[in-house]
């Protein structure tokens, strides 16, 4: 016959406490804020909040902040300051944007989600005391899983292969038709889907375009892609915008000015330049002490010759430029200044809005993802790998991403949803 545990209070109980960790929402969009709370701990008790993320490539990223519980034994990450860690101060989303490769990782890592249909899975944990290392060897007090999604429920992903165009179209839920966006990624090439997936989650039919498969891509390719988007039954053909990053921004500017087919209603250029990247002035490549490549001088000085840059004085639609002032990869601030001068001279500067962020770098992406100051880069079609210096410091760059994304969505809504036909 079994003997059961008697119903006496355990002698350990006076020292036993179990804290409650909660995150809301536990499944959020990548650009949604969450609220992280600890309850039921002793008052004035030091704790470490920790975030852990495994990338699709098997790398580990982590972030942490040091907190002290209040008189009620609670920590509220949205309101309480972190006293140190990978971020400090009152930072509701610090556990995500300050994620960095775990010690011992391969160098030059950049966090990018290849599969936009599945969520990022972040493990949020609480550790005893103020810890700064060895998290994998310590016992956690509590832990929860948080999902971060690029795709809202109901967003549909459609492979596009018609007319020689390779891309992926993301459609919002609902009857449509929707304003459309052509999303042009940077010189790393490939089909980068996460930003258009997120844009579709905000109501825009967004086409991710794979345009660097051949070294020498023709203008007609972009025009074909634009037509594919326009003619889609769920896209408003007169409400299409372009969103570019880095080299994609240059493409966006060039096409909008010179193409008769591509007539966007608005353009967003993130970390872009109007200067043609013609001819390799590779001897202008610089290296810093860590042997990271600085390419920003390759396009400088800004040419005065109109044949060497896009004539933005001829632009006919609103243009939003997003500039990181610590961009080490392209001369984005100088280009933005020159574009403003050209547009003022041509009389169309009322179309221009510039968002300029001190201490932000080149890779200005949707918010709350880890920042990458320098990372492995391989230009499309080349086999040579570099560690490119992108620039930017973690906290200012992350603030820039949050602000720029919000303003980009407002700009797109205003020009594509709200403006009269």
């Amino acid at each position: 016959m079994k003997t059961w545990v008697s119903n006496r209070q355990s002698t350990m109980e006076t020292n036993l406490w179990r804290l409650l960790l909660s995150v809301q929402p536990s499944r959020g969009l990548v650009d949604e804020k969450f609220s992280v709370r600890v309850q039921n701990a002793p008052p004035a008790h030091p704790l470490t909040m920790h975030a852990l993320l495994h990338s699709e490539d098997g790398d580990t990223w982590e972030a942490f902040g040091h907190y002290v519980t209040d008189s009620g034994g609670d920590v509220n990450v949205s309101e309480d300051p972190s006293l140190g860690g990978t971020y400090d101060g009152v930072e509701p989303m610090g556990l995500l944007w300050s994620l960095r490769p775990a010690p011992g990782s391969r160098p030059g890592l950049r966090f990018r989600k290849r599969d936009a249909q599945t969520p990022m899975q972040v493990r949020l944990s609480v550790y005893q005391g103020h810890q700064s290392e060895g998290f994998m060897d310590r016992a956690v007090l509590a832990s929860v899983m948080v999902e971060r999604w690029y795709m809202a429920p109901g967003v549909r992903r459609v492979n596009i292969t018609e007319g020689g165009v390779t891309g992926t179209l993301f459609l919002p839920p609902g009857p449509g038709p929707f304003p459309g966006l052509m999303d042009l990624w940077g010189g790393g090439g490939g089909l980068v889907e996460y930003r258009p997936a997120l844009l579709a989650s905000h109501g825009f039919a967004s086409l991710a375009l794979d345009y660097l498969k051949q070294a020498d891509v023709k203008n007609e390719y972009f025009e074909d892609a634009y037509r594919v988007l326009q003619q889609h039954p769920q896209v408003c053909k007169n409400r299409i915008g372009l969103v570019g990053l880095s080299f994609g921004s240059s493409v966006a500017l060039k096409m909008s000015v010179y193409s008769n087919v591509i007539q966007p209603r608005c353009i967003v250029c993130v970390s872009g330049s109007h200067i043609h990247a013609a001819g390799s002035r590779l001897k202008k490549t610089r290296y810093n002490e860590e042997n990271q490549v600085i390419w920003r001088d390759l396009l400088l000085p800004v040419p005065t010759d109109l044949s060497k840059k896009v004539d933005v004085g001829r632009l006919q639609c609103p243009l939003l430029l997003v500039v990181g002032e610590d961009d080490q990869n392209w001369p984005v601030p100088e280009s933005a200044d020159d574009m403003r001068e050209m547009m003022e001279g041509a009389g169309n500067s009322h179309l221009l809005t510039v968002l300029s962020y001190p201490r932000a770098g080149h890779l200005i992406e949707p918010p709350y993802s880890p920042h990458c100051r320098a990372g492995t880069f391989m230009a499309a079609g080349s086999r040579k790998k570099f560690i490119a210096l992108w620039g930017g410091e973690v906290a200012p760059h992350s603030r820039a991403q949050e602000d720029a994304w919000r303003k980009t969505l407002d700009f797109l809504r205003e020009n594509l949803y709200c403006s009269a036909d």
């Binding site: 929860v144 009857p175 929707f178």
Partner: protein, 433 residues
């Protein structure tokens, strides 16, 4: 195709837990524009449920459901969650439906749409102006679901994410039978190891003691689980499950719960002098069952008057742990309010009434469930022992019942946390909320 105005419809969060509030908002409408916000859900049984509210945009062309007033539809007033709790089967559906999610590994998917003007029918025949999809989950990410088959014990255990160990909750559903998992899954999403038990399917107990030792075994499975803090296990029961809960709290000798929740339950044994008779599939004395004008069955009077013979009810004076009793005063299925009064009387006489907290909700019915699930005043029911199909009247008016679900769930979670989560400031359990 030119589009003059497309409103921008948003739902935050897009994926939430079933008991989380959401914010539904509309922008980019013309000012002072009448619209209907509509929700649509296709159940696992392939029935369609819908709700709708009438709004007028403000001067900036916005509608904010959590703040603005619905002027009509399936709910009125400022009701942030009205699009969920006021859902009902669409016209033309089968009758007597009840919305319950049996597979908790997938979410409830709800389509929220906005229509021009104030519409009350024909939602499927016209395209909306815009739509959004939202998911409602019973399981938080990282919650594990494990089947339990240990001899005669058949159930499911849900374990929260994290190192553990955790407090445990035995979740006892009602006399409809089957393995109902959703409340357990949700409890695990709030940090409790929770076990859902199918206790009606097959066991026959000849005696009260046999019955008790079965439930003791179940409780011990939870207590002995490596991820459970063995002296921090509670029991939560609904309807017949609540009667089982009270029985365990009073009579289990070798093992006992740290606290109990009884929702829409009674301490009166339905058949006579013990719980064992329930499992012998005895035919109930239907003499006191009534029918309303729509031939729906009312069992409310079956245990009335509350017996004075102490053998016919659970000995409430023997309960040694905190007890939370939750009732609706429009309960048409069981005389729970009268039972609660008698329970309090018995506990006062025995001197343990400091353990008792009673919450009675005006115009709520029998099925007080986790919040934002639609209310139904009656539904199809199969009487276990006779297999007879009836329409059972549960009671409750939609709005007060939904408010009761929201409020009671919050209080149940707070009660469970208070008594089951060891607190650093004191080592003794609190008796009252």
């Amino acid at each position: 195709m030119a589009q003059t105005v497309t409103p921008i419809l948003s739902v935050h969060p897009t994926r939430g837990l079933v008991d989380e509030k959401f914010k539904v908002a509309l922008e980019n409408l013309p000012p002072r524009f009448p619209v209907t916000l509509h929700s649509l859900h296709r159940s696992e049984d392939k029935d369609y449920w819908e709700a709708f509210g009438y709004y007028v945009s403000d001067d900036r062309g916005r509608v904010t459901v959590s703040e603005d007033v619905s002027l009509g539809g399936t709910y009125t007033g400022a009701e942030p969650m009205g699009l969920l709790w006021s859902m009902r089967p669409v016209p033309g559906s089968r009758t007597g439906l009840r919305l319950r999610k049996m597979d908790v590994r997938s979410p409830m998917v709800v389509l929220i749409s906005v229509y021009k003007g104030h519409v009350f029918e024909g939602f499927r025949e016209q395209p909306p102006m815009a739509s959004a999809v939202t998911e409602r989950w019973y399981m938080a990410p990282g919650v594990q679901r494990i089947d339990i088959r240990e001899g005669a014990v058949r159930g499911t255990i849900f374990i929260p994410p994290g190192p553990g160990p955790f407090p445990g909750v035995l979740d006892m559903w009602g006399g409809g039978g089957g393995l109902v998992e959703y409340r357990s899954a949700l409890l695990a999403s709030h940090g409790f190891v929770s076990m859902a038990l199918d206790y009606m399917s097959f066991e026959t107990f000849k005696t009260h003691d046999e019955c008790l030792s079965y439930f003791e075994k179940v409780l011990s499975i939870i207590q002995q689980h490596p991820q459970v803090i063995k002296d921090r296990v509670g029991i939560c029961g609904l309807s017949l499950g609540a009667t089982v809960t009270l029985t365990m709290a009073a009579y289990c000798k070798s093992i006992s719960p740290r606290c109990c929740v009884s929702v829409s339950g009674s301490h009166v044994f339905p058949y006579g002098v013990s719980l064992a008779e329930v499992f012998q599939f005895k035919e109930m004395d239907m003499g006191k069952a009534r029918l309303d004008e729509q031939k729906r069955v009312i069992w409310h009077d079956m245990i009335l008057p509350i017996p004075t013979d102490p053998q016919r009810k659970v000995a409430m004076g023997r309960i040694k742990c905190p007890l939370l009793v939750v009732n609706g005063d429009d309960d048409q299925n069981w005389a729970t309010v009268e039972s609660a009064e008698d329970m309090a009387k018995m506990m006062r006489a025995a001197g343990n009434d400091h353990l008792l907290t009673t919450l009675t909700y005006h115009d709520a019915g029998h099925l007080i469930e986790p919040p934002y699930i639609p209310h139904f005043r009656a539904s199809n029911f199969i009487i276990q022992h006779s297999k007879q199909k009836v329409v059972m009247l549960w009671g409750g008016q939609t709005k007060p019942h939904s408010d009761a679900q929201e409020d009671s769930w919050e209080k149940i979670l707070a009660f469970l946390r208070q008594h089951l989560y060891p607190c650093p400031s004191s080592s003794l359990p609190q008796a009252k909320l």
